[in-house]
Symmetry: C2
Subunit: 174 residues, 2 copies
């Protein structure tokens, strides 16, 4: 991506009025866990965000708030073992604030951080059942990586985290 | 800890015959997941080791093998947000190879790595039900941090990763 494109994306994306971005803190963990199941339509994914992610990766994670209430979050880190990669572990937006570009804003904020640390691409993954997430990643320019099979035309990697756990793997050059 | 103590510990600990230490690789994930439930006495903790831990932290994680078979592993990382800390996420030893100092050897190997990166202490945590783990951490010099209540005389922190999830928190100066 050319620098001009990057600059364009940065200035083009804005948060809704009275929504503010800040770096995450360790203490944000409880607030995220408290909303997670509601935001994911009843799916309990709390096991995916043990407190260590906020304690140790909060400097590369972000919170969007409005009047002190959690509106969105992104948990990411600069891969220590893969020096050209950033990884987005989790991102969520309050259901009433979707479709306003907040997720894209958070991703772009993380991409900027990654570029500042000489990362060339960002990876993420999601479950095949999460069609909204797949659509979102494709929309903001991620590619779906080849998998070992496909589900309704989408490449998936089976047994990703454990047996019976298919994932869609995303990668984007930044 | 004085340098002399550190040197002493390094030379004092040895792996059993024909057991070899190596840095972990991303590809070790499946092998770890395959043994985890057996090694943990039927407790299914596979959700605690998503593949990202091996992909992104394999350079600070270790494997012990004997004739190509997995004997033990340690998954750790240098905290990116807390520049004086190392964190041990998970460590397991094959049940038939316990009591031989392999866990202590892995921890000491990680401590050495942490010292090389100017880390002053290492943290870990465990569930209060895992008495073997609590005993192990105390034996190799970890302190149990104050919690918000206690369970049979051991300080625990309630709701650590989510509601109803108590943890014992350990810290060791290295």
């Amino acid at each position: 991506m050319k620098q001009s494109d990057h600059t364009f994306m940065q200035t083009d994306l804005k948060l809704p009025q009275n929504c503010f971005l800040r770096q995450a803190a360790s203490s944000d963990h409880a607030g995220i866990i408290a909303v997670l199941t509601d935001w994911w339509d009843g799916r309990d994914l709390t096991w995916m965000i043990p407190r260590l992610f906020l304690i140790h990766f909060h400097k590369t994670s972000y919170i969007v708030e409005k009047n002190g209430s959690l509106i969105a979050f992104l948990i990411g880190f600069l891969s220590p073992s893969k020096s050209d990669e950033g990884y987005i572990h989790f991102c969520g937006v309050h259901p009433e604030y979707r479709g306003m570009g907040i997720g894209a804003f958070l991703y772009e904020t993380f991409f900027t951080l990654c570029r500042q640390h000489n990362r060339l691409f960002v990876r993420a993954c999601t479950s095949p059942v999460n069609r909204g997430s797949i659509k979102f990643h494709l929309k903001i320019g991620f590619d779906i990586l080849p998998g070992d099979s496909d589900m309704e035309g989408i490449a998936i990697t089976n047994d990703y985290n454990k047996p019976g756990d298919p994932k869609v793997l995303f990668r984007k050059n930044i």
